[in-house]
Amino acid sequence: MKKVLTFGVALAVMGSLVSCGGTDDESADSTSQATSAPEQTSAPDTEAPVVEDGVSDDGVLQVPQEFDTIQAAVDAASAGDLVLIDVGVYNEAVQVTTDDIVIRGVDRNAVILDGNFELDNGFRVVAANGVAIENMTAQNFTKNGFFWTGSTGYRGSYLTAWRNGDYGIYAFDSVGGVLEYSYAAGSPDAGFYIGQCFSCDAVVRNVVSEHNGLGYSGTNSGGNLVIIDSVFRYNRAGIVPNSGSYELCYPQRATTIAGNLVYSNNQPDTPAIDVALLAMGNGILSAGGTGNVIEKNRVYDHDRTGIGLVPFLEEDANDQIPTKDAWEEPCSESKLKDPVIPDGPLLWDSIDNVVRDNVLDDNRRADIAVASAGTDLWTLGNCFSGNTHSSSAPLALESLSPCGSALSADGDWVSGDLVVINWLVEVESAPPAVDYKTASLPDQPTDLENMPDASTAPAVPASSTPPVVDLAAIAVPDAVS
């Protein structure tokens, strides 16, 4: 039985977003069913390939022309190969354990993996490095649409994740990654998730996440991790990085969230894990996050906060909170340490976050906010500057807590403060979670942008070095008209 957040603990709680899950993996035994006659795809312009047993040696493994199933092609692929999937619906859960392969659909909107609410993951990449998945749709899986775990080098480009039971697109304990030009909707946890990594060396860019429990979730992730130029809307809550000892590599830290359009995350009819219910109505919410930079986002139309820095309470923690001098320790080292079980609940405060140059409007409780429970706010090191806003909690927050100045107890930190413990009460009357299988979603998009030259572009495995991002060039996006 999942733990239930209980009222009566005099601390604010921000739950987290984890999941992963699924039934046992039986991907190797799945079958595929192409629903239309495949068109002949074009091989790269090389010398004539040698064909043996119907399979050419040109490094392109075609489904279903050469392999009946995606899994069969993936199993046959070697590093550097391209698994090219033709138009059709494939009832498969595919497991990938080969390094440096590229798996691509010829048409993002017409190459569809469908789990029929029986199969667990559209793609599960387990400890395989350099795997890139491109240009296709995964829908109706009981767990995740696209899932990497334990990988160095990963990329998801031009992917659509629709109505999957945990996450849409999910990278766990993986470093060196890119999730881009992708879309996720209809998951109870998050549309996009990057967790348990430091330094993550990852980029989430140009994605759209809507009608999920959370638009983005990131537990214990950070370090050269940027979330940029994306849209998070119509979720219960928008972007929610958090700390917690139920995963390794805590705390959450050093993520840059910039240039995103975050609006209307108050959706009452989405699938939602318990944490999403609790976080509902917030745009960008750091729950025990540390050292993040939140800048140049446009955040509007939220019932609670536009950008909130709140604590996360763990009632049954698995280790003590690391001291600041341990925050630079890479995940590969920290995960090997023996835990020290604390005597009581842990309160992960949001610490040392920078909130600057955002544009906020119509966030009904407060455009910008910081809160704790039992900890003096001026000791947390969070700062707010240059934000276009009309409300804050506490009042005059940018005067109390400007960036570039030492914080002090001077000033009124009480008036208008955010009493997050009230959220524990309010969640009892929140609109309940909806089954992801039947949740009301907008019409499934069928014209999302395709990868250029999908049928002929050469295979480029995922690099473990993420693209360089010019953060200075990022601008506040326009509002949706």
């Binding site: 999942k2 984890v18 775990t149 698995n318 835990p339």
Partner: protein, 150 residues
């Protein structure tokens, strides 16, 4: 004259089933030419904890004395399972446990290791016991662990 092993909680011979002791084919030489003593391995009363987190076991590597109980506690927020490496799924584990009562038949399915659930097993036979969570790993990769019983 027969010799007897006395005094130690961790006995280094014999395998038993989880619910008690049994005699194995392993024997201990007394030092004389033709006398052999078989000694039952019993739980030694030691309990070692393994945290089942999202998505890892902690500690990943564990070395214990034979007769030790290992207690797995799901401290995460998601279901997990514990499958020996040669078992592919919950269904296979159910079948294994229903037909094999040897000390090496162990593990727990995901429906019985939800957040807050515990699973315990007493290891009564020396050996290396690799295991994994099929939801979040494969043998030796992703979410996996190993127990060495000495």
């Amino acid at each position: 004259m027969k010799s007897l092993l006395v005094g130690f909680a961790a006995v280094f011979v014999v395998v038993g089933c989880g619910d008690g002791t049994s005699l194995s084919d392993t024997s201990v030489s007394s030092g004389s030419d033709d006398e052999v003593v078989s000694v039952a391995v019993v739980p030694n009363g030691q309990v070692v904890d393994v945290q089942v987190l999202d998505n890892s076991y902690r500690p990943l590597d564990l070395t214990i004395e034979v007769g030790t109980e290992v207690r797995f506690d799901n401290k995460g927020r998601n279901e997990h399972n514990i499958l020996p490496d040669d078992v592919k799924s919950d269904a296979e584990l159910i079948e294994l446990l229903a037909t094999d009562d040897s000390p090496t038949a162990w593990g727990v399915v995901s429906t019985e290791l939800s957040p807050g659930d515990e699973y315990s097993h007493v290891f009564l036979e020396p050996g290396v016991y690799p295991y994994y969570c099929s939801i979040h790993g494969v043998p030796g990769k992703g979410m996996y662990g190993v127990i060495v019983v000495e």
